[in-house]
């Protein structure tokens, strides 16, 4: 009976039923079958109002949307190009770095392709980079940066782990540290490849002087220092850093640069809250469904079943990679986190995997899943955005895909890469 219902719900999800509906339905059915009052689902949902860290989600999302609607991306491109444009493949490296920073702020990867792609794709082709390379680069960059603070998926993973009450010492600050080196590895690997393939390209000379570019971007420059400096120095809590960032961006883009008109402000706020609402409502109903899963001891049973067949943690990690890659193709990162982490974390802990490391593995795989043919989401967003057949996008992203796959494997099998910085700060 329960198998039939599960399959039915899965079918409905695949046919395009909003995911929060499917999760809510499974929670309702679960509690109903255990004769528990169904208002428990909404009581769990209300816990959204009891977690201080969640404040960071609307605030960072707002800041990201405001930045993407202003001319800040253009200023950032000019500045980085003035600084790095002299290198072989300089503009490609610039694109990678900017997309990574930008995705870290906006979290949702589709936004990067839409906001920055329009800027970078023509710039790359004009500078003489091949169309195929440029398309692949822009599509790939769309999900680069998920591992850098203050990305929403990192925050969300921290929230979920804290809710589960296992690996209790894990904080979002730790996650921000854990993601830094693996994220850097991805950017460096892609940069090295971009420089190598474009080594024959004549160096483009930026027509904007470094001083002028610096002056133009003077107001945006303090941002990373506010966010990262504030959090890493322990001066700000994550949600406080989010508040400062949101206020700062609001003042700079609306009052100082005046690039966002007051009339547009309400539209941008609304659009950013649609994303926030989409994430929070899934998180809210999954608080209930997770509660049911734990009551029913599903994660424990899952671990017992798996452990009967797989004893080797390395083999488990390999399976995890394949599974997460498939998952990342189909699910967006937020739903994947709230659905899978409660199931995966207890199992991974059973194999002795650090919760911090699991988080980084999870996000790194998801990021790659976005680019995995045939249904990775960024491939379709790019095809739509640049009006290019999706087959051509597949071909363009393939080399980038394999490089990222390599880095994902390194990240998976070298826990030290993720755990070094958090350990360093812990002993500090």
């Amino acid at each position: 009976m329960s198998v039939v219902i599960s399959l039915l719900l899965l079918g409905l999800a695949l046919l395009g039923t909003p995911l929060f509906i499917v999760i809510a339905a499974s929670a309702l059915l679960g509690f109903y079958s255990s004769d528990i009052d169904l208002s428990v689902v909404l009581i769990e949902f209300y816990r959204l109002a009891e977690m201080p860290i969640l404040l960071a989600i609307p605030l960072f999302t707002l800041a990201g949307y405001l930045l993407s609607e202003s001319k800040a991306p253009q200023r950032l491109v000019n500045l980085s190009n003035a600084l790095l444009g002299w290198m072989p493949g300089g503009l490609a490296v610039v694109s990678l770095a900017i997309c990574a920073i930008f995705t870290a702020f906006t979290g949702a990867s589709g936004v990067t392709i839409i906001a920055l792609g329009a800027l970078l794709y023509p710039a790359l082709t004009q500078a003489g980079y091949g169309q195929r390379f440029s398309l692949g680069l822009v599509t790939t960059s769309g999900s680069l940066g998920l591992l850098f603070a203050p990305s929403l998926p990192l925050i969300l993973y921290g929230v979920i782990v804290q809710q589960l009450g296992v690996g209790s010492s894990l904080t979002v600050d730790d996650l921000f540290l854990a993601g830094a080196l693996p994220g850097l590895l991805m950017v460096l690997a892609l940069s090295a490849w971009s420089m190598w393939t474009n080594r024959g390209l004549s160096r483009e000379q930026s027509d904007i002087s470094i001083a002028a570019a610096l002056r133009a971007a003077i107001w945006e420059l303090p941002l990373p220092f506010i966010v990262l400096g504030g959090i890493y120095s322990g001066y700000f809590a994550v949600s406080e850093a989010a508040a400062v960032t949101a206020l700062y961006v609001l003042v700079v883009e609306v009052l100082i640069h005046r690039e966002i008109k007051l009339g547009d402000l309400s539209r941008i706020i609304r659009e950013s809250m649609v994303l926030v609402g989409g994430i929070l409502i899934i998180l809210g109903v999954s608080l209930a469904s997770t509660n049911y899963l734990i009551d029913a001891e599903v994660p424990v049973r899952l671990f017992d079943i798996m452990h009967a067949y797989i004893q080797d943690p390395l083999f488990f990690l390999l399976l995890l990679n394949v599974f997460l890659l498939l998952l990342g193709m189909m699910l967006d990162i937020f739903s994947a986190l709230v659905i899978m982490v409660p199931l995966l974390l207890p199992v991974a802990l059973g194999y002795g995997i650090d919760p911090l490391h699991l988080g980084i593995i999870f996000l790194a795989n998801m990021q790659l899943g976005y680019l995995t043919p045939p249904v990775g989401m960024n491939l379709f967003i790019a095809s739509y955005r640049f009006k290019v057949p999706v087959m051509q996008i597949y071909r363009s992203t393939l080399p980038f895909f394999f490089i990222l796959l390599l880095t994902v494997l390194v990240i998976t099998y070298w826990p030290g890469l993720s755990l070094y910085l958090p350990g360093l700060f812990a002993t500090w």
Binding site: F20, I21, S39, I57, P58, R270
Partner: protein, 162 residues
């Protein structure tokens, strides 16, 4: 015809109200959260009511955002199969998934209302002077609105848009 105009009127008013409330809440959230930091660091302590108030606003913004997302049919979905299906099959699927979503939201709204009533009779407070049921209010309201929107959307795609 009269009823239809009337409903349209309500729908427009509701939309404007949601939009206004979202903007108001987001801006006050930014100012209050930032103000609290200043108070804490400069004056040695923030206002007691601000932190719980901010947390409740997260819940409200989440549901308001989800209500707006339902207007545009903008919720997070898997959407793997629909690319490969014909228009006619898609039409039937839209009806099934839409009705299902509407029913689930109605159930959530009903039990949310029961939860709110329980808080009302227990007369609990989130912080001094603010009863919990007021903060819970958005749960039944939000899910009722979403239920209606999913239902309307099922039969008249585009009717609740813009």
């Amino acid at each position: 015809m009269r009823i239809k105009d009337y409903l349209e009127h309500i729908n427009n008013a509701l939309r404007r109200f949601e939009d206004g409330l979202i903007v108001l809440m987001v801006l006050s959230m930014v100012l209050l959260a930032a103000g609290q930091i200043v108070l804490r660091n400069v004056f040695g302590g923030g206002l007691v009511w601000v932190d719980p108030f901010l947390r409740v606003m997260v819940l409200w913004l989440g549901l308001l955002g989800a209500m707006v997302a339902t207007r545009h049919n903008n919720h997070i979905t898997v959407d793997v199969l629909s690319r490969f299906l014909s228009a006619k099959i898609k039409y039937f699927i839209r009806i099934i998934t839409g009705l299902f979503a509407s029913v689930i939201c109605a159930i959530l709204a009903w039990h949310g209302a029961r939860f709110m009533l329980a808080e009302y009779t227990a007369a609990t407070e989130v912080f001094t002077g603010v009863p919990t049921w007021c903060c819970v209010l958005i749960i039944p309201v939000g899910f009722v609105v979403m239920s209606v929107r999913f239902f309307v959307h099922t039969f008249k795609p585009g009717a609740v848009q813009t």
